[in-house]
């Protein structure tokens, strides 16, 4: 889920449940027809006995100056996916709206009539579209539009930054060309704009009336979760000549198939995004969205301090505003009596919940190849000070791995701090044990540089890293990098240093979207550079786990791999983050929606 650079600019989003809830979710049995609990309009908070909740404008205040991407094939930030998914960007399947994370993490039908049908070995999935789906000009949304949307992912020269599961899973060979201009394409199909390999794509994705079928290159037991990411429709130019696909500019003005459409979008500080009703959207075709407010207006570029002041005061229009952001540390003691309890003035409109993200420090295992050295770094780190600096009890719990408890069955304690590395390590670090590990390594500890995306709080965190590792005789220099270029820098082998700051959240409730991305080159987020002979056994085990169709057996594998990764200290986990958010006095319902760690946008309303 996490395109963390976006997330980073926005001081994090939101959380799942409080308490370490086990979400029983994940892949359905591929042979059965998957069926998740669904919420229809009647079961929502809008009971028929209640007054009509339609109308009004919900404002969203954000520090960001624009959305990273509104293109269905490029959007990849949890909060954005949640918001646009609820308003203009429907998908074949979605998640249930519920304040219970176990329920909410269940997949449910959206544009499809059910949550999909898989072949026995889960290498072929098909979805049947509902009747009455439309675009914002009133024209019918057809199966080919979904197919066209998916095809855009393959034009990875212009459709950048988005999820690439279509390329990863669809049964289309890799691009055989390794030299020249065409080498840019990841797949033998070059996308709809270039057109090369169109027949390959047509074989993998086919439309038969209103049934779309995907042929996969491997068994994917939870492909009906996968289709929530980047499988949304874009008008097929052959069918909708008026709804132009503007390619890389589409992200500025995508066509809507949801209850709202983009009326106005001006980026920058002082700019706004205004969504108004799409009169062609048909409530009967949509089992998920209740579409209460008449408008959504996102206001860009408001200072974080100002947002807090306005949200806390909740005067005028701000009474119907939601904060697309987190409460600043300075105000937490005003808003909350403690992390579980809001102060009376704010009861019912603030939430403090675990978000989907694990924070950790990656360690480049190529640059620090000696496992004892990495263990020494983990042992020396003062995690307690890091947590205190991040907000203490408001920052969440200390982490023991990259899989977070709210991911459900895939989580098990790794024991990283209770003996996995040889002996228990206190929260404030154990410099003596670290020295001992360095001695055992048989090599002198190299000098280290810690990369981090700069902001004032992380400047202090850098000081903690330098100081606490220094107590174990490890010489560390901090290297602040401007936020916007952070990931660009650390993914560059020459510019990245030995270790640094990062965070990650799962794309859907399966650690298959955590362990493989973080620790294999195929996954695309391998900042630790887990590769080479010493780590080959790990990489092989990951491949086995991905192919495992028995979900509980797979869960056990993820637990073991999480533990193994910690034993080898591919990363040093810091916190399982908690975040605090606030809405105006006239917004309901107020809870963290588990799937994207966001507000439940599709069912929010203005109280009359």
């Amino acid at each position: 889920m996490l395109r963390t650079d976006a997330w980073l600019r926005r001081a994090l989003a939101i959380g799942v449940t409080f308490g370490l809830v086990v979400a029983a979710c994940g892949g359905t049995n591929p042979t059965a027809t998957p069926a998740g609990p669904t919420v229809g309009p009647g079961e929502s908070p809008a009971e028929s006995t209640m007054p009509d909740l339609h109308g009004g404008t919900i404002f969203m205040l954000t520090q960001n100056e624009e959305f990273d991407d509104i293109d269905p094939q490029r959007a990849y930030t949890g909060e954005d996916l949640a918001f646009f998914g609820a308003t203009i960007m429907r998908a074949l399947t979605g998640y249930v709206y519920s304040d219970d994370p176990v329920v909410a993490n269940g997949v449910t039908a959206d544009m499809a009539t059910d949550t999909g049908t898989a072949s026995p070995d889960a290498t072929e999935w098909s979805f049947t579209l509902r009747d009455g789906l439309t675009w914002e000009d009133g024209s019918a949304l057809v199966c080919e539009d979904i197919k066209y949307g998916v095809s855009r992912t393959f034009a990875n020269d212009v459709i950048t930054n988005g999820p690439t599961y279509a390329i990863q899973y669809l049964d289309i060979p890799e691009n055989p060309v390794s030299e020249g201009d065409d080498a840019v394409y990841l797949s033998a199909y070059y996308g709809p704009y270039n057109g090369t390999g169109q027949d390959l794509f047509d074989q993998a994705v086919s439309c038969d009336g209103n049934v779309i079928t995907f042929k996969l290159n491997q068994s994917v037991a939870d492909f009906n979760y996968t289709v929530t990411l980047g499988f949304s429709p874009v008008p097929d130019p052959a069918i909708h000549p008026d709804l132009v696909d503007t390619v890389d500019q589409y992200t500025l003005r995508p066509w809507s198939n949801g209850p709202y459409k983009i009326e106005e979008y001006t980026q920058g500080n002082g700019g706004h995004l205004l969504l108004t009703r799409n009169e062609f959207w048909n409530q009967d075709s949509d089992p998920v969205r209740l579409a209460y407010p008449d408008q959504w207006e996102v206001l860009f570029g408001i200072d974080a301090k100002v947002i807090d002041q306005r949200m806390m005061a909740s005067q005028g229009d701000d009474a119907t505003a939601v904060c697309y952001c987190n409460i600043q540390p300075e105000n937490l003691n005003t808003v909350f009596a403690d992390p579980q309890t809001p102060n009376p003035d704010f009861a019912g409109r603030v939430v403090s919940d675990y978000d989907p993200y694990s924070r950790y420090y990656w360690i480049d295992v190529q640059k620090v190849p000696n496992v004892k050295h990495r263990q020494a770094m983990a042992a020396a780190l003062n995690r307690d000070a890091i947590r205190a600096n991040a907000g203490g009890d408001f920052a969440g719990a200390l982490g023991d791995g990259v899989i977070k408890p709210n991911l459900g069955q895939d989580y098990a304690e790794t024991g990283m701090w209770t003996g996995l590395l040889g002996q228990p390590i206190p929260d404030s670090g154990d410099p003596d044990f670290a020295r001992q590990l360095i001695e055992e390594s048989g090599e002198p500890m190299p000098d280290l540089i810690w990369d981090y995306p700069q902001n004032p709080t992380r400047d202090l965190e850098a000081g903690i890293v330098v100081e606490s590792l220094g107590r174990a005789g490890i010489n560390v220099t901090a290297n602040p990098i401007p936020g916007g270029s952070y990931y660009g820098t650390i993914f560059n082998d020459e510019q990245a240093h030995q270790f640094g700051w990062a965070g990650w959240g799962p794309d859907w409730p399966n650690a298959s979207t955590v362990i493989p991305p973080l620790f294999t080159d195929k996954g695309g987020w391998n900042i630790s550079r887990v590769r080479g002979e010493a780590n080959q056994d790990f990489i092989d085990q990951v491949a086995v786990a991905i192919g495992e169709l028995d979900r509980s057996a797979q869960a056990k594998m993820w637990q073991d791999l999480n533990k193994l990764a910690m034993e080898r200290v591919y990363v040093i986990p810091t916190t399982f983050g908690l975040s605090q958010v606030i809405v105006g006095t006239r917004i309901q319902p107020v809870y963290q929606w588990a799937p994207w760690g966001s507000w439940p946008y599709a069912i929010m309303y203005v109280t009359p």
Binding site: R3, E65, E66, Y76, N156, D157, V158, T160, N161, G162, T164, I167, S178, D181, A183, V184, Y185, L186, Y193, N194, T246, V247, D248, Q249, T251, L252, Q267, G268, N269, G270, G301, I302, D303, K305, V306, Q309, R310, P482, G483, G484, S485, G488, T489, F491, N492, Q495, G524, W525
Partner: protein, 330 residues
């Protein structure tokens, strides 16, 4: 005179050319790989290579520079080989692939904010600076003079961000006299506009007014020493007329010079003031661009700002030559 003008214009053009050259090559050596930055999560060397081509970074720097300058005069097309080429019409200052927008559009969007900030600040400081400077000169050596000069010195010394933060602390947070600044245009909501701008204006004015107080005071004192003022006084003209009509006018030239240059500099964006009050002007735009390593935007803003100053220099010099007969232009 004509010869002088021609020479100054020629030298300004030369300067502008040097400026584009310096700016372009200064930023061209930055390592933050723009091709990598647009690449995102699933990134392979081949994609980076293609993006480099797409961003025209794979051609020699000299040629990049030619295209850059060519764009300013004739416009240029980005992403020529892609399905959707981007036409950037002259004057094209570049295209921000990070924000999917022409640099000129971004600058045009931010410019009004900076314009209002600069103009309001300018008027405030000129008003305060000139009036207090004159008062100070007239009460020379007495406590009024000393107090004014003392205030001027402190105001001149304090870092702008400290002034800004202190103002926010007292006026907004502690005394609740004003709401938090939130930019809006004066035609949309004049009240809100004034509420937002008053503190930034004061912040800027504090910095500059002090300088102008001192300058005005010195000018007036100097002019008072000259013969024609003594003559005017001897003629029995009222003191008010002596001060305003004779003394100030004669002493005004260096003040106008400084004011022109300061205003031009400010129009390029007040990074710190805009940052503190989160005003979406050129200063904020440039900080954002720096943080995101958005080279085309940085280059564009630097060029515009520097051109403003160079142009203001020319205007001031020419005015100077026209107004002050002592300047030799031959």
């Amino acid at each position: 005179m004509a010869g002088y003008v021609v020479r100054r214009v020629v030298s300004m053009t030369l300067l502008l050319f040097l400026l584009t050259l310096t700016v372009f090559f200064l930023f061209n050596m930055m390592p933050a790989d723009p091709a990598r930055l647009t690449c995102g999560k699933a990134c392979s060397p081949a994609i980076i290579e293609a993006n480099r081509h797409h961003l025209e970074l794979d051609i020699p720097p000299i040629e990049q520079y030619q295209r850059f300058v060519g764009g300013i005069f004739f416009g240029r097309t980005f992403s020529k080989d892609t399905p959707r080429p981007i036409e950037c019409e002259a004057p094209c200052l570049g295209y921000s692939f990070l924000r999917n927008t022409e640099v000129l559009t971004l600058i045009a969007r931010a410019a009004p904010v900076t314009f209002w900030l600069a103009i309001g600040g300018f008027l405030t400081w000129m008003l305060i600076g000139l009036s207090l400077g004159i008062v100070s000169a007239l009460t020379r050596g007495r406590w009024v003079d000393r107090t004014i000069m003392g205030i001027a010195l402190v105001g001149y010394s304090l870092p702008s961000f400290f002034i800004g933060l202190v103002l926010i602390f007292f006026v907004i947070l502690d005394w609740n006299l004003l709401p938090f600044p939130q930019w809006t245009t004066p035609d949309k909501d004049l009240g809100r506009f004034l509420q937002t701008m008053i503190l930034p204006w004061i912040t800027i004015a504090t910095l500059y007014a002090a300088f102008y107080m001192r300058l005005t005071r010195n000018q007036v004192l100097e002019v008072f020493g000259e013969d024609y003022i003594r003559t005017a006084r001897a003629k029995g003209l009222p003191e008010r007329v002596v001060v305003l009509k004779h003394a100030l006018r004669a002493g005004l030239t260096p003040i106008v010079t400084a004011a022109g240059l300061d205003l031009a500099g400010l129009l390029g964006g007040a990074i710190i003031t805009e940052n503190i009050y989160s005003l979406p002007g050129l200063g904020s735009l440039s900080i954002g661009a720096v943080l995101a390593s958005d080279l085309p935007v940085i280059t564009g803003i630097t060029l515009v700002t520097a051109s403003l100053i160079i142009f203001a220099n020319l205007v001031v010099d020419l005015l100077y030559a026209v107004v002050d007969p002592r300047v030799r232009v031959g």
